[in-house]
Amino acid sequence: MKKKIIFGLIGLAVIFLFPIIDNNTYHLYLLNRALIHAILATGLVFLTGFAGQISLGQAGFYAIGAYSSAYFSTRLGLPIFLGIIIGIGISVLAGFLLSIPSFKLKAFFLSLVTIAFGQIINMLVVNLQPITGGPYGFFGIPFYHVGDYMLSFENVFWLLGVILLFTLYIMYKIKHSHYGRAMLAMNSDDVATETCGISTKKLKIAAFGFSAGLAGLAGALYAHLAGFLSPEPFTFFESSNFVAMAVVGGLRDMLGGVVGGIGLTLLPEFLRFGGWENYYLMVTSIIVIVIIIFMPKGLAPLLGNMFKKIFRVKSSNTKTL
């Protein structure tokens, strides 16, 4: 047990030292995007892997978080911190709303409704020009700063890392409580869950709200990182990309969203600079398909097992010594 903690701490230290080892600005920007995607995909793991619900409209919440925080901090001059909180709040409310169709609908029909939701938000982003800037974009969003001190990309990386860890901690605690057990029960059988005295409606509202809140948080974090918003990252294509992250990482694994979010953000870039510049998107898609078919549980459980094996070899070695 103690060894595990030490191992974890060393792992964290290496990750946190990374920006100092490699301080290429573009690399750091990508890593920051990867962490943001990890936060969002973690929300999807919660919604789909734990609670058994589907959302193919996650880019809608991502947009709500991004534009809300941009609007409140840029146009109304609120501190970034407050802008992000408001962005999360509005996303959560929208998540509550999107949970209503899930009371009656499942699987295929539910995914259609969530796709429609994403499309509606995208149309709003395009058409609500006075607020969003429409297709021309939203400019001048303040970058992360504390008073007069501008954060560097390294600082932002650490900030996002801490937010991600905090997210995972919350999810871990919820999973191992009466709430988490109820979510997993609902995932397995909602009639039986109801006869255990649990309102599946309330659970669905909470699950959609939680995952929407994380998507909104991710969107707001992205807005202040990019400094500029346009409708393109908030399309159905992005929504399905987010689902792919959660699935490739592992829907049932605590760390599925982290592995998938980071993996699928960095993979295309590796391919692009690895000599596949013409085909990198296609190759990424093929890799996603291969993983989904041959590793339906995702990469995170695999990495977890590998880690355990290495760890076990080490500990048995020390025993023989």
């Binding site: 919350i170 919820i174 409580s177 997993l184 029960a185 995932n187 059988d189 039986a192 006869t195 005295g197």
Partner: protein, 252 residues
């Protein structure tokens, strides 16, 4: 004292009237059995009372409170628990977790207490785990508490489903064919358990095809045929009733 009362309770599925104008009472503290040929509406009766299927018309009263329009989860929290004819366990959870799911409504800690892992929450978790282990002990599953129910023998899965129902601390318990597909020994375990529950004051409604079982435990029997009650009374009387014999044996 009647713990449950129905008035003209009717349930139809499209053209099929599965329960027709049922007006009946379940006496508190007793074991009441429902028998009847396949498709006579026994499971439907349980489904409607527990809110799994919405009622078509009529009224249901639990301890004199009308519950006809309640959601399934509300009915369960009032103290009406059940098992299913086709066992429904949470195979993605361990044995003890299955029981703990039904303890959810006994927790007072909110999400904030959970995230901050407060003393109150840890204490609640400890108490409910203890309660769950107690119930698993009662049905003989304590040593399997941390295993998955997935590959377990049929009889054990049935016992787990009963333990989960009991975790609601029910006043009224519905068991839909608990002995179906069980071996003689497993069957005996369930029968003894029912008598223990009666001693503890839990009212049980039992749907069964095994007549030996009914004869041994039931205080009162309702006989259903095509969704209607065709006979009622203690088993010895029902056993000889020509109407019942006809329903079971056909026209002869």
């Amino acid at each position: 004292m009647d713990i449950l009362k129905t008035k003209n309770m009717t349930k139809s599925f499209g053209g099929v009237v599965a329960n027709k104008d049922l007006s009946l009472t379940i006496e508190e503290g007793k074991i009441t059995a429902f028998i009847g040929p396949n498709g006579s509406g026994k499971t439907t009766f349980i489904n409607v009372v527990t809110g799994v299927h919405p009622i078509t018309s009529g009224e249901i009263f639990f301890q004199d409170k009308e519950i006809s329009k309640y959601e399934s989860n509300q009915i369960s929290r009032l103290g009406i628990a059940r098992t299913f004819q086709k066992i429904r366990l949470f195979d993605n959870l361990s044995v003890i977790e299955n029981v703990l799911v039904a303890r959810k409504s006994f927790y007072k800690s909110g999400p904030i207490s959970v995230v901050f892992n407060t003393k109150k929450f840890r204490e609640e978790e400890r108490q409910n785990k203890e309660k769950a282990l107690e119930l698993l002990d009662l049905v003989g599953l304590k040593d399997k508490a941390y295993e998955s129910p997935k590959g377990m023998a049929y009889g054990l899965r049935r016992c787990l489903e009963i333990a989960r129902a009991l975790a609601l601390e029910p006043k009224l318990l519905f068991l839909d064919e608990p002995a179906a597909g069980m071996t003689r020994d497993e069957f005996k375990v369930i029968m003894d358990l029912m008598l223990v529950l009666r001693e503890r004051g839990i009212t049980t409604v039992l749907v069964e095809h095994t007549m030996d079982f009914i004869k041994a435990v039931a205080d009162w029997v309702y006989v259903l045929n095509f969704g209607e009650i065709i006979a009622k009374g203690p088993f010895d009387e029902i056993e000889k009733d020509p109407v019942v014999l006809k329903a079971y044996l056909g026209e002869e």
